[in-house]
């Protein structure tokens, strides 16, 4: 709770910092605020602001919040080189507000918080997507995201209303309790509500067939926003899905999870196959994220079935990390607003370390051993096999197909010749951070327990 407050205040500060002539001030304020938030998390300060009916700091919440703060911290630290009038202070503050929404979702105990969290997360995002106001693509992305997001919100609200109609409460525990005592004897509209809520969250997660916005929006948005979307937003929406499936409606899970399986399969395949046909790297990665979010969803389902949440947390962690690396470097490469494969040509010549970090990020996405992506994918796949052999096969197939387009990017980076003048720009922060992140991915891939156990000890102690 305190974290949200701090982030909110930081957001306000960064917003007003734009009045100060120092252009870098909003950024430093933002970093400071995030650090403070991290410190308060570490000290477990609460100031007595505890609302168990709405928001609770579970260990999971704590872990995820730290990850989220870590991701946004890195997003803030990295320097960018957009045109001068790009209003960084507003963007930073909107990002911080959106992060507040994400954190709300991470600890939600109430459907109201779910709804508010989704909206607080999304509304700044609509703006962020359109934040390059001079660019048509950015605006279009913003509009698309907005219309479709609002549409999904309508479903969400309708679903919540129907659920409320059965349970008479928005609180997670009470909803669970009602289902507990009534068993399967719940009215039909409860189920409709449940389905509608799931659909809305699937939309936010960009799971096929509710993914249509994501390639366009990822493509059109400024890359920094895309980075934000593929990391924090995925985090928030996935955790929400986790709460939906295992929190509010855990009694429905057994009946309904098989409806999710075909959806996941479609995500696997669509993400892989459509990505293959892309030239635009951001679009390609958007499709890849569809595939990945399929895995995340599977991780959640498996986590419930196998009583092991680490599956899904681990997957999210590795995916967001590698996606952070990849998109940050894309942001560096970016020329104009779109990154095509040609723009990647010859990165390794000019920026070998960045190229290696990018490669590690991509390899992690592709699920090559020695990267965290492999362990994550591997564990999920092992789990899937226990549920359904065919789905397992589809998962593998999608990995294979997706590897095709991951490879394309690597080919461009390592084997093609090109002299892009912006490769010459040295960006030492970026390089150092990317290298650190890629080492983290490697550690996740070889000694996952080192990290996981550390997390475990830290958060559960």
């Amino acid at each position: 709770m305190l974290v949200i407050l701090i982030l909110f205040i930081t957001g306000l500060c960064t917003m007003f910092a734009s009045l100060h002539p120092n252009k870098a001030l909003p950024k430093y304020l933002g970093i400071l605020g995030i650090l403070i938030a991290l410190v308060t998390l570490h000290l477990r300060l609460g100031l007595g602001l505890d609302f168990p009916a709405f928001f609770t700091m579970f260990p999971l919440t704590r872990i995820m919040t730290v990850i989220a703060l870590f991701l946004i911290l890195i997003l803030f630290i990295l320097q960018r080189k957009y045109e001068k009038d790009y209003d960084w202070s507003a963007v930073y503050s909107l990002m911080l507000f959106s992060t507040c929404g994400v954190i709300l979702l991470l600890g939600q105990q109430n459907l109201l918080i779910l709804f508010l969290g989704i909206e607080i997360m999304s509304i700044p995002l609509y703006v962020l997507a359109a934040s390059k106001k001079t660019q048509a693509a950015s605006l279009e992305a913003g509009l698309k995201y907005f219309i479709l997001g609002a549409f999904a919100s309508a479903f969400l609200l309708f679903g919540i209303a129907l659920v409320y109609g059965t349970t008479g409460s928005f609180v997670m525990n009470e909803i669970i309790h009602i289902q507990n005592i009534n068993g399967v004897q719940l009215p039909a509209y409860f189920h409709i509500g449940y389905i509608f809520i799931i659909i809305a969250i699937l939309f936010k997660m960009a799971v096929a067939p509710f993914h249509f916005w994501s390639p366009d929006v990822y493509d059109g948005s400024p890359t920094v926003v895309t980075t934000f979307m593929t990391t924090l937003v995925k985090l928030g929406s996935s955790v929400t899905m986790y709460y939906i499936l295992v929190g509010y409606f855990r009694h429905q899970f057994d009946n309904y999870f098989k409806f999710l399986l075909p959806i996941i399969c479609v995500s696997f395949l669509l993400g892989a196959i459509l990505g293959l046909a892309q030239n635009n790297v951001k679009r390609m990665l958007a499709y890849s994220s569809i595939s990945h979010i399929g895995f995340v969803l599977t991780g959640i389902i498996l986590g419930i079935a196998l009583q092991d949440m680490s599956l899904f947390v681990f997957y999210l962690l590795t995916y967001t990390l590698s996606s952070l690396i990849v998109f940050s470097i894309l942001d560096y490469i970016e020329n104009g607003n779109a990154v095509f494969l040609d723009h990647l040509n010859g990165l390794s010549k000019h920026q070998p370390l960045l190229a290696v970090a990018f490669a590690i990020g991509i390899l992690s996405m592709a699920g090559i051993p020695f990267t965290g992506g492999f362990i994550a994918k591997y564990r999920v796949l092992t789990g899937i096999y226990q549920i359904n052999g065919w789905m397992f096969a589809i998962g593998l197939l999608s990995s294979a197909v997706a590897a095709g387009y991951y490879l394309k990017t690597l080919n461009r980076i390592f084997f093609y010749e090109n002299n892009q003048e912006n490769f010459a720009i040295k960006n030492i922060y970026l390089v150092v951070i990317m290298v650190i992140l890629s080492i983290m991915i490697l550690i996740l891939g070889t000694l996952p327990e080192l990290l996981l156990q550390g997390i475990h000890k830290y958060f559960l102690a």
Partner: protein
């Protein structure tokens, strides 16, 4: 023991020195190579004596391979057969080495040549001394390799290279058969040691003799022996694998003498004799050998009749003679075959060396139509060549007479029909050999002026071997005189050879031919030789230049073209293989193998492109997709209730 080691190692040392220092040694390499083989020869003589006095013995070196129960030692087995072969190889080998010093003196690659020759001697010794199939195979492949190297010795000539490769590959076909026979032995007997196999076969022979069923099914023996015979076929140039031998004449003449006449090509005979007990258990194989041998003998002779290249004629003659040896094997006359092998080694080596001398004198000319009247120019060569010719056509009391006669006698014993065929083959041999001899040495010189001016007798290093071989060609028959002419003691070779394991176990060979029949057969053969020989001599002596060069037609054209067997093989085997290769590469690879992956990538890519059209950028479509998905999900939920 130590002798055997020296015997084996001496050529290999010669090989290594010649290979490494060949260039620096120059002509000394020839002497070195000869000495190396001479040492082996001396060792061979001593070893022979040891075998005479102490009987067979084994010389183990080390374990070459040990696989569960199968133990393959790198060891030599010295017995009567191998020591006999050893003597032939090293003896004739020494002579030919000696001859080569002169013959190859102008060649730059003399060091290399002697290196290969030494390697060949080593391999051949391994072949005959090997105590098991693998050791035999070592030699077997080794001689094939040396044959390849030596045929292609003048590597700049592409044709020679082709001939070398052809020889090698045809031999490989035989090798495959041998290898399969070997596997069959392992599969059925669990061993590839000759002695053990022989004792197994002996057991079965004994059972069979007592009217019982053998330990192993007859078809096993048939299969094994057929496989072995295929191996022999390849090495000893029998139908259908004989075409490489005439082509192999591309190599230097001493090579033809040593490898393609005296030693290597007889390896097939050796193999059959070595495993005679097995063959005795497989009558079908023996019959096959008989038929194929006979066919080869006649075909070889007939082709030889129409050839003009002096070496080719000799080569076909070799094919024919080898066929005759196989015929002998086919009727179970193992020692006779060995006897003919021995005499053939002498006179065929002599003939080849003589031919070499002629070619040397003629500055490399090989066509007998361009020779003639050489008898006065190169007298020594002429004399020795005449002796060789007499020996091969079986003129009375020459070595060839006795060996051939013994075979004919055994054949008559087996069946007069076979005898008839063999006699026909022998008759053709007479004609073409006399033809070669006459056209080369009699009549007028038909070559160019330049060649005539260069005509000279070969150096003594070349004539000395000729003389020695001529002596052996005359008196070689004494090794195994028929008993009507001397009997008992002089029957030594056959008796001695029958001591080897594989022959010892055979039922005693009983000849039911009376002495008179034997004499009659001998007389018939003598008559044929005399009549045909003199007829041919007179006919060819008189032939003029025009008669010789006039184009042939009909059967003789066929004969000149070797009955188109090479073309047949080319069209039946080589061409289909090549088109198969191209077909596989250009069609199978392209249309069946590659689509496996590219098809799938195209599929995914195509589907991707198709699905991209759904992502058309229009919000209303996106909304509709979502709505449709919702409807579908809701409808499917409907079925839950």
């Amino acid at each position: 023991m130590i002798l055997a080691k020296i015997l084996i190692l001496s050529p290999i040392v010669g090989f290594l020195i010649n290979l490494i220092l060949g260039k620096k040694l120059g002509k000394a390499s020839g002497i070195l190579g000869t000495v190396a083989v001479l040492i082996s020869f001396i060792c061979a003589i001593f070893m022979y004596q040891k075998v005479v006095s102490d009987g067979a013995y084994e010389v183990p070196f080390f374990t070459w391979m040990h696989i569960s129960t199968l133990h393959i030692g790198f060891s030599l087995w010295v017995d009567e057969l191998s020591s006999w072969m050893m003597l032939i190889i090293t003896g004739i080998g020494t002579l030919i080495h000696l001859y080569s010093i002169g013959y190859m003196s102008h060649d730059k690659g003399i060091g290399r040549f002697f290196a290969y020759l030494n390697l060949f001697i080593f391999s051949m010794l391994m072949l005959v001394l090997g105590g098991n199939f693998i050791m035999l195979f070592v030699g077997w492949e080794g001689v094939g390799l040396c044959s390849y190297l030596l045929i292609g010795f003048w590597f700049k000539n592409v044709e020679y290279g082709h001939a070398a490769r052809k020889a090698f590959i045809m031999n490989r076909i035989g090798d495959l058969g041998l290898l399969m026979g070997l596997f069959l032995c392992i599969q059925n007997f669990g061993t590839i040691n000759f002695n053990e196999i022989n004792s197994i076969a002996a057991g079965d022979l004994a059972l069979k003799a007592s009217g019982q069923l053998g330990l192993y099914q007859p078809y096993i023996y048939t299969a094994i022996t057929l496989c072995l015979f295929i191996g022999a076929m390849g090495k000893s140039a029998q139908i259908p694998l004989y075409t490489w031998l005439p082509d192999a004449m591309a190599g230097p003449t001493p090579v033809s003498a040593l490898i393609h006449a005296a030693t290597m090509v007889t390896a097939g005979i050796y193999l059959v004799v070595r495993n005679a007990a097995l063959f005795e258990l497989a009558p079908f194989t023996l019959n096959t050998i008989l038929v194929i041998g006979m066919a080869t003998s006649i075909l070889g002779a007939m082709i030889g009749l129409f050839q003009n290249d002096i070496k080719k004629v000799l080569a076909y003659s070799t094919v024919s003679q080898l066929g005759l040896m196989f015929v002998a094997l086919g009727v179970g006359a193992y020692t006779s075959a060995m006897f003919h092998l021995t005499t053939h080694a002498f006179f065929k080596a002599l003939l080849f060396l003589g031919a070499g001398s002629v070619i040397h004198a003629m500055s490399g000319e090989q066509d007998i139509l361009r020779m003639g009247g050489l008898r006065n120019k190169i007298k020594l060569t002429h004399l020795t060549f005449a002796i060789g010719t007499l020996a091969i056509i079986g003129a009375p009391f020459m070595s060839g007479f006795f060996s051939k006669d013994e075979i004919l006698e055994k054949l008559y014993n087996h069946s007069p029909v076979v005898w008839g065929f063999a006699l026909a083959s022998a008759a053709i041999t007479i004609i073409y050999m006399v033809r070669v001899y006459t056209l080369t040495f009699w009549g007028k010189f038909r070559g160019s002026q330049e060649q005539e001016s260069h005509l000279h007798e070969s150096p003594s290093s070349m004539t000395l071997p000729l003389i020695i071989l001529a002596i052996f060609s005359i008196f070689g028959g004494l090794f195994n005189l028929p008993h009507i002419l001397g009997g008992g003691l002089s029957q030594k070779m056959a008796y001695w050879l029958s001591n080897i394991n594989s022959l010892k176990v055979l039922p005693p060979h009983t000849s039911h031919l009376s002495h008179s029949t034997e004499i009659m057969l001998m007389l018939i053969a003598t008559a044929v030789v005399l009549v045909l020989g003199s007829f041919a001599f007179l006919k060819f002596k008189k032939q003029t230049n025009d008669q010789l060069v006039k184009p042939r037609f009909g059967f003789s054209l066929w004969g000149e073209k070797k009955f188109y067997v090479d073309e047949l093989y080319h069209n039946l085997v080589v061409k289909p293989m090549e088109s198969m290769s191209d077909f596989c590469f250009y069609y199978v690879e392209h249309y069946f193998i590659q689509p496996i992956v590219f098809g799938s990538t195209r599929l995914f890519y195509g589907v991707g492109q198709l699905l991209r059209t759904a992502q058309n950028g229009n919000i209303e479509y996106y909304l509709a997709y979502i709505a449709v998905a919702v409807v579908i999900i809701l409808t499917s939920i409907l079925f839950v209730f």
